[in-house]
Amino acid sequence: MLADVPIILILVGLAAYTVLAGADFGAGFWILFPAGGRTSPAVTRDHARHAIGPVWEANHVWLIFVLVVCWTAYPVAFGSIMSTLSVPLFVAAIGIILRGASYALRGQLDSAPQRRLIENIFALSSVLTPFALGTVVGAIASGRVPVGNARGDLVTSWLNPTSVLIGALAVATSSYLAAVYLAADARRLVDRTLGFDFRARALWAGIVAGALALGGLVVVRSDARLLFEELTTGGGLAMVGLSAAAGLATLASVWAGRLGPARVSAALAVAAIVGGWSVAQHPRLLPGLTIGQAAAGRATLTALVLAVAVGAIVLVPSLVLLFSLFLRGRLDAGPVAAPIIDVPGTKLADRSRPLLGFALVCLVVGTGLMVFADSGWTRVVGITCLCAFAVSAFMLSATMSDAQGNERRGNRPEYAKFSGQEEQR
């Protein structure tokens, strides 16, 4: 039972990553193919790029979450997957570097001639990365990763019909989610044409993604019979049905222009695919290795679950805050909504002399304890003293106004020299 908790965490993380980061990847897809709408390609690209700004980093962290839970709870499975699938994972890693770096770079390039190149690197890596990660899922789902250090085939494990299908599906669902979300964001920005364009894209991408998912079952049937049977019976079938229903509901909502509900049902449609995969494969993790067999010891699992529970207490409200600000447009760029508020200044009382004395005493005591004593508690006290020195000395040094120095020393000419140089230029 305890052994199953981490896999549930992994699936939650994977679903969140597929939906949230997927939509960010999909924005890259629309930057790559911005034509075909009534709005100009340049405006479309800018919209897709700006929309993910405040959230893509947080969304990316779900991938890290999945990795760390996997290697902590199921270390042997993690080692087997990472070594056999090193090629697509390395490609994904390179894609992640290129994507993050080009995104950061593009933000500062509004007038530079290289901006299109950087934008295309961003867009291409946004397509490459989900494809590579999709092939990894396909390899695991079709049972091509044996237990052991690089025991599987380094090429055919991920270059096979199921992997390619799931890679393509990852790109398609990402583009579909992005189109739905970008349509909703465009409406918030009160840009009707842009919103209309992305609604049209969402409909098309939804139809393609749905067709790929259902048509792909034929591929899975011939390539990975076991997976096909698990997907078309019992819980697996229910999830596939849920995904299809949510997908249809999204299409209807987008058609009707009800983009709020569409956000939710689109996410559900994609998350249900992840759910279907997990239900189908349960309890098999890798061939010959069940989740129970792969799980780490009790102490590790308990510690992990505790850590995640405590982490969730911090994470959930933070995410709610981020997305509520984001969806209400409080993190949008553009003209200022609220005027900047003048803060009434207060003059810091001059306590510099006693503070300087305190800092020096802390430095001497802390250094003495650190250098001449050698036990745990002297270290704690010593480090505390050194921290107190650092904070008080920093406050003194960094808040010291230049004028204060001048008054104290009465050496105005020194500063006159500085400002004099400025005036000369």
């Binding site: 405040p54 962290v61 890290i64 990795l67 760390v68 290697w71 902590t72 993690f78 087997s80 990472m82 070594s83 090193s86 090629v87 390395f90 994904a92 890693a93 390179i94 992640i96 570097i97 993050g100 770096a101 950061a104 250090n149 690089a150 025991r151 380094l154 067999q293 780490a296 010891g297 590790t300 992990l304 995640v308 982490g311 933070s318 600000l325 409080r330 200022v336 909504a337 609220a338 900047i340 508020i341 803060v343 009434p344 200044g345 207060t346 650190m370 250098v371 001449f372 270290r379 480090i383 050194l386 650092a390 003194l396 040094s397 960094a398 010291m400 230049d402 001048n406 020194e414 500085f418």
Partner: protein
């Protein structure tokens, strides 16, 4: 499940795998320094704005926060590469010990989440959140920067001083992650050492930028305020670092004597052991170096006559490459001493004379100090990580037992080198671009006619 499934493989390219990991680490670690120290510097500037009402500090915080976000974005991806590489390059290590140390990375994951969420709210929220709430949204970024590095370094502390598990067929069983990671006395000095280094690197690198401006005659209020914050942080950190370094050296002498022997090139166990400055280890002793009798014993055990364990106490196959470790250590300690002198000079002038230094040589030194601090940072990590060799888990698992059996490592290595070179160019170019933004344009929200027209600086920027 069997440990034998992860029986060691014969990996011809072990050295390349280690170099790939080291390269990725060297690329990521400077960004970590900015993650540790920069948020506090930015928040301090904003606090000054809230406290004094002086819009100059708002402009400063705002400009810095954009650089902070860009560096964070690059850090996000380079950090992701590191976690990928743990599995891609060292699956044996992950399979055998993931259950022991993985917990720290799970905790780090949450720090990372918090950092990513609030850095976005902070930087994108400048114009739209009320000032006080905006300031508060930056505080989690500072905290997460500290806890994130703490958790990661707890893993490194454990790798150097492993505990909290039993070994069965080469696989860790009965793991007790809490005890292994946080009951380990050996990681605190690493953490404090790194934390202080973070302020040195961020402070000197940021300070160097404004020192450059100073030398070119741009000495407006804006530059002076920026220099005061950056250099105060760097100077205090670099003055404290020798004390922390002394603590770290004594811990290494106690727990990893072979690493210490490699750092010093000490072949034979010696009492009243001498310290050699510079020179070269020829397999028996250090040649061409400046020998100071008894100093090593004094530094390692605070006793001139103490006996220091030599390399001969470990079989040759268990020794790290001496010259790499020794050179790295001397580089770090030498640069650290220089930086401490610069820091001391700054604090002396600041507190005795109540102003910034005037000497042009001081500002030239600060410009050099930025890159030097980066070299010292990487040299320090080379010292501890190459000094750990040939072990990945000290005394329990060798890197050769941990490495992947997958082929094609040289291709991956070459690709990574090219990508990182591109990344380095991009980051440098990006930082230069940030600098060229005129002061007033970066702060579009400045009300017209406010008393903050830092005319000297703004004029200076326009004049370029």
């Amino acid at each position: 499940m069997s440990g034998s499934a992860f029986a060691p493989v014969d990996q011809y390219y072990l050295l390349q795998a280690r170099q790939m990991q080291a390269l990725s680490f060297a690329v990521h670690i400077p960004l970590v320094c900015f993650g540790i120290a920069f948020p506090l510097m930015v928040l301090f500037a904003e606090w000054r704005y809230l406290q004094s009402g002086d819009l100059l500090f708002r402009t400063l915080a705002r400009r810095w926060s954009k650089v902070m976000l860009a560096l964070f974005a690059v850090g996000v991806v380079t950090g992701t590469i590191l976690s990928f590489e743990l599995g891609l390059l060292w699956p044996g290590f992950m399979a055998a010990f993931g259950n022991v140390f993985g917990l720290a990375f799970a905790l780090e994951g949450f720090s990372f989440f918090v950092e990513a969420i609030f850095i976005a709210i902070y930087v994108y929220g400048w114009d739209r959140l009320p000032p006080r709430r905006h300031f508060l949204s930056g505080i989690p970024v500072v905290i997460a920067g500290v806890t994130g590095s703490l958790f990661v370094i707890s893993v490194n502390g454990w790798m150097n001083n492993p505990g909290g598990f039993a070994l069965e067929n080469g696989v860790a069983v009965d793991a007790n992650p809490w005890a292994a990671l946080f009951g380990n006395s050996y990681f605190w000095h690493e953490f404090v050492h790194m934390y202080v280094a973070g302020y040195m690197v961020a402070g000197f690198c940021v300070g160097g930028v404004y020192a450059w401006d100073f030398l070119r005659g741009h000495r407006g209020r804006y530059e002076r305020a920026a220099l005061a914050i950056a250099l105060s942080a760097a100077a205090i950190a670099s003055v404290l670092q020798p004390v922390i370094g002394d603590w770290a050296a004594r811990e290494v002498a106690k727990k990893q004597p072979i690493k210490l022997a490699a750092m010093e090139g000490l072949a034979q166990t010696t009492s009243r052991a001498p310290e050699h400055l510079l020179g070269w280890y020829n397999g028996q002793t250090v040649v061409y170096g400046l020998e100071i009798p008894g100093l090593l014993s004094l530094l390692a055990f605070h006793n001139l006559n103490a006996t220091v364990q030599g390399l001969e106490t470990a079989p040759p196959t268990d020794r790290p490459p001496v010259n790499v470790v020794r050179l790295a250590f001397q580089t770090m300690a030498g640069i650290g001493t220089l930086l401490a002198l610069i820091g001391f000079a700054f604090l002396y002038v600041r507190f005795r004379k109540g102003r910034l230094p005037h000497s042009r040589w001081f500002y030239r030194a600060v410009i050099v100090a930025g890159p030097l601090s980066l070299i010292a940072l990487i040299a320090g990590w080379v010292t501890t990580e190459v000094g750990r060799q040939p072990w990945v888990v000290y005394g329990f698992m060798r890197t050769s037992e941990a490495v992947t059996g997958a082929g094609g490592l040289p291709i991956g290595y070459a690709t990574l080198v090219v990508v990182y070179l591109g990344l380095a160019c991009a980051v440098v170019w990006l930082l230069l671009r940030f600098r060229r933004l005129p002061l007033d344009r970066s702060d579009s929200s400045l009300p017209s006619g406010s008393e903050f027209t830092p005319s000297p600086a703004a004029e200076a920027f326009r004049a370029r």
